[in-house]
């Protein structure tokens, strides 16, 4: 019960930002890319609730518009990682043998590859766009999910109910999707909610390489990146995106905990 309360708090936080992101075009806020040379790096005030940035743009409005890119970057790339990583982990863990050998080796190789290199390569390959940034982040987050899933599957596949599934004549796909997958989801959710944070921050470094949200369109990550240069002159430029990322991370983690419990009929 208590647990669900915190899940609801998480849901509210995430929804709050999601709604902001979606409603950005209709909210009565300033144009996020309208520069104002007369209002450069102004501290929060009545006119600009969260202050202005290095080009005199309204930070509040940039935060709201940026929510879209950042949430997308966080959620979509994690989804990509899950959608690729989990099935491969499932196959490696379930079948063992050479599929496992191949998947594990490639996973290890990918893990050893610096993110930056993969990102540049993908940027060159796929061309610059937010979508491709998400793909890049997703792909580089994948190995962790493969490993995690594989490890879980190894323990779940020895459960009696898996043998039970075989005994009623189910095929491998059915067993994997209906018996194993639902029972390995808990740690995957924990990992996914943690990865959301990494992904949001990673988007910034990719936009820097020309792969993510391109200037002047805002994202929290790239706002942070810019703010880095004005840490002492305009601390609020760092503060707001920092706080937003923090809240979203908390939100997703609480939600993840709740989701994990909700997916587990024993906890409900």
């Amino acid at each position: 019960m208590k647990r669900n309360k915190s899940a609801i708090v998480g849901l509210i936080i995430v929804l709050f930002f999601a709604i902001l992101a979606i409603a950005a075009p209709i909210l009565p806020i300033a144009d996020p890319i309208a520069t104002s040379w007369g209002a450069i790096r102004k501290a929060p005030s009545a006119a600009h609730w969260l202050g202005t940035d290095d080009l005199g743009r309204d930070i509040l409005s940039r935060m709201i518009w940026g929510a879209q890119a950042s949430l997308m970057a966080g959620v979509v790339s994690v989804m990509i990682a899950v959608v690729i990583g989990v099935p491969f982990g499932l196959i490696a863990g379930y079948f063992g043998g050479w599929p496992d050998m191949i998947i594990s080796r490639v996973t290890e190789a990918l893990l050893a590859m610096p993110f930056l290199i993969m990102a540049i390569a993908l940027a060159a390959f796929l061309g610059p766009s937010l979508t491709n940034a998400m793909i890049a982040i997703g792909v580089s987050a994948t190995p962790a999910f493969v490993r995690l899933t594989r490890g879980q599957v190894l323990s779940v596949k020895t459960e009696d109910y898996v043998e039970g599934a075989r005994s009623i004549g189910l095929n491998h796909i059915d067993i994997m999707t209906r018996y194993i997958l639902p029972n390995v989801f808990a740690p995957i959710i924990v990992q996914a909610t943690l990865t959301v944070a990494t992904a949001i921050i990673a988007e910034a470094s990719l936009s820097f390489l020309g792969l993510g949200q391109q200037a002047p369109a805002p994202s929290w990550g790239s706002m942070l990146n810019t703010a880095k240069n004005f840490l002492s002159q305009a601390p609020w430029m760092t503060m707001w995106p920092g706080i937003a990322i923090f809240l979203v991370v908390i939100g997703f983690n609480l939600l993840g905990d709740g989701l994990r419990d909700a997916l587990d009929p024993r906890e409900a």
């Binding site: 109910y161 043998e163 039970g164 009623i168 004549g169 189910l170 209906r178 639902p182 029972n183 024993r266």
Partner: protein, 604 residues
């Protein structure tokens, strides 16, 4: 007997749990005494509050979500009022406890020795070396062979029975005044159960301690307890000397409980399996037990023919994991099973019963042998054929808790095979599910629930319903009732018998519970170290056991008759013989003798 002051005196003990923000009372107004040297048993069906009572005495429940009221006097001190720190000095010292699950109650990553000597270091201020010496002594006392050398071994290197003995050693380490044993033998098979019970009795005499023994096995109660407390849904419904309770139990529930107890030898004179008498727990009125009609069809070819089945699990080690040996789990097993017949497969833990069942279904690949189902050679089937075959043979797994997917509603679980084998539409599948649920005595609207929302007995029935979904001809029932408590055990057995009668099913009934086997089977096969050492009609095997192992098995069964309480088995501390053989081991050729028609015994 209780002339001296009691060691433990419980007054108005009530326990409640905080569930969904509300206090739910689970144990109410328990009052009882335990005198020095006395053994008191608490019996009752699953969920009646036995474990909660014992945990309350030890104050081992999570304080945040539980509330314990009343008075627990241990040698004049109220345990419930002690500060936690002092309570810690009581736990494991004055009162110690043995838990139900020997497999999980020991920390897997510490040595046995350390876990025992910890108690001595903690409570007796012994040095490491002293504790070690004392631990070895204790291990010897509980008859662990080579105690000194096994001090540094880990739990997984011990068999279940030995682990339970380790738990006992641990509990006895500080020479407690009171030992609380919560179902210490339920998970064990009869031979080991017998050993453990005897061990407790002997030690109790030597140390003069009192024992609070929790169980739902009336046979065990009869054998061990001086006095018995019967619990029913959180209430203490009856207390008295064991004999009183057994012979003159007043409460209807007590009588219901007793009548449900299968007694070995009670089937003498019956030709066919017989349903258990069912008593109404509130009125205590028995329903007449009905003898089942003859269902066996001997005229046709057996539905299942097993010939020279061998299953071995390779053991690999060394460089490149070369095979160095094998577990000979099933060795040259042959038998037939006729339509409508129940063949029981009995034997001690690890003798290969489950593996036999799984090999027949090719859930493990047998090493050699033939299995014919309705005349078709199961061993030659390809993947598709195998899937088809599995429509005809179904298995009910040993453990109802773990054999259902915890994240699938039972409705989905039951209709899944039906849908996957394309036997009908979704609607038909729903109808079938409802029908099956009712058939196994549940209601159709339970289909939406998840496995954890059912009791063990109900879950076992769900497993049965699922097995029936494909209208199989043969059901392999692996220890389907062993883990259930008496009343439910009776219900499930009755259910199986009913189903056999109405659907003409053949059962391969795997069990180590001899009393149940006697009641439900037509024929019995006794397995020992992977081989069938004796097989024959039930009456022949039970009344005239030939093989020494069969005899040992029979004698180990506790008899629910308090008058036999003094009787001791010869205590043996032999471990299970191992079915592990080195590479190149040739199983000896076995000779068999037919004692009477169909009753065959291995003679060498």
């Amino acid at each position: 007997m209780t002339t001296t002051a009691p060691v433990l005196s419980v007054k108005n003990l009530s326990t409640s749990f905080l569930v969904d923000g509300e206090w739910k009372s689970v144990v109410r107004n328990m009052s009882f005494d335990v005198a020095p040297g006395e053994t008191v048993a608490i019996v009752g069906e699953s969920g009646s509050g036995k474990s909660v009572t014992s945990l309350s005495l030890m104050r081992l429940l999570a304080p945040a979500t539980s509330r314990i009221e009343g008075e627990v006097m241990l040698n004049g001190r109220n345990l419930l009022a002690l500060p936690e720190k002092e309570m810690r000095a009581v736990r494991g010292n004055e009162v110690s406890m043995i838990f139900q699950e020997p497999m999980t109650s020991l920390n897997p990553i510490f040595t046995i020795g350390r876990q025992i000597s910890e108690v001595l270091v903690r409570h007796k201020n012994m040095s490491k070396a002293q504790a070690r010496a004392e631990t070895v002594r204790l291990l010897e006392k509980v008859r662990i062979p080579n105690a000194a050398s096994r001090f540094d071994e880990y739990p997984h290197q011990f068999s279940g029975g030995m682990r339970q003995r380790v738990m006992i050693a641990m509990a006895l380490a500080s020479r407690p005044k009171l030992l609380i044993a919560d179902e210490p033998t339920t998970a064990l098979d009869v031979t080991i159960q017998g050993q453990i019970l005897d061990l407790i009795k002997v030690l109790q005499e030597e140390e003069g301690m009192s024992v609070l023994f929790i169980t739902h096995d009336m046979g065990v109660v009869a054998e061990i307890a001086d006095r018995t407390i019967v619990m029913f849904r959180g209430d203490e419904v009856e207390t008295g000397p064991t004999e009183e309770i057994f012979h003159r139990g007043k409460h209807p529930y007590t009588r219901a409980l007793l009548s449900a107890v299968p007694k070995l030898g009670s089937m003498q004179g019956h030709d066919w399996p017989t349903r258990f008498p069912v008593l109404d727990a509130t009125t205590g009125e028995p329903a007449e037990p009905v003898e089942v009609t003859d269902t066996v069809v001997l005229s046709k070819r057996p539905v299942l023919e097993v010939k020279n089945l061998v299953t071995r699990f390779p053991i690999r080690s060394g460089l490149w994991s070369r095979q160095t040996g094998a577990v000979h789990a099933v060795e040259n097993v042959s038998f037939d099973l006729f339509q409508g017949e129940t063949l029981a497969l009995v034997g001690e833990s690890g003798c290969g019963k489950s593996t036999t069942g799984r090999s027949i279904m090719r859930l493990v690949e047998p090493t050699a042998g033939n299995v014919a189902l309705d005349g078709y050679d199961v061993m030659r089937l390809d993947t598709i054929g195998l899937r088809q075959m599995r429509r005809s043979v179904q298995m009910i797994f040993q453990d109802p808790f773990s054999s259902l997917n915890p994240r699938m509603t039972v409705g989905t679980a039951i209709c899944e095979p039906f849908i996957k084998h394309r036997l009908g539409t979704t609607k038909q599948a729903k109808e079938k599910t409802a029908d099956l649920l009712e058939k196994v005595g549940l209601s159709a609207d339970m289909a939406r629930r998840y496995p954890h929302e059912f009791s063990g007995g109900q879950r076992q029935r769900i497993a049965i319903a699922r097995a029936l979904a494909l209208d199989p001809k043969v059901i392999v029932a692996d220890e389907s009732v062993s883990a259930l408590d008496v009343s439910i055990k009776a219900q499930v057995c009755n259910l199986l018998l009913d189903l056999q009668q109405s659907l003409n099913l053949a059962f391969l009934f795997i069990s180590h519970d001899m009393a149940v086997v006697e009641r439900v089977s037509h024929r019995v096969a006794v397995m020992y170290l992977g081989e069938i050492v004796e097989i024959g009609p039930r009456a022949a095997v039970f009344d005239n056991p030939q093989h020494p192992y069969t005899k040992k098995l029979m004698s180990a069964v506790p008899v629910p008759d308090p008058s036999r309480r003094g009787i001791r088995r010869a205590i043996s501390n032999d471990e299970l013989k191992s079915p592990v053989r080195a590479m190149g081991y040739e199983p000896p050729r076995r000779e068999y003798r037919e004692v009477s028609p169909g009753h065959v015994v291995q003679i060498g």
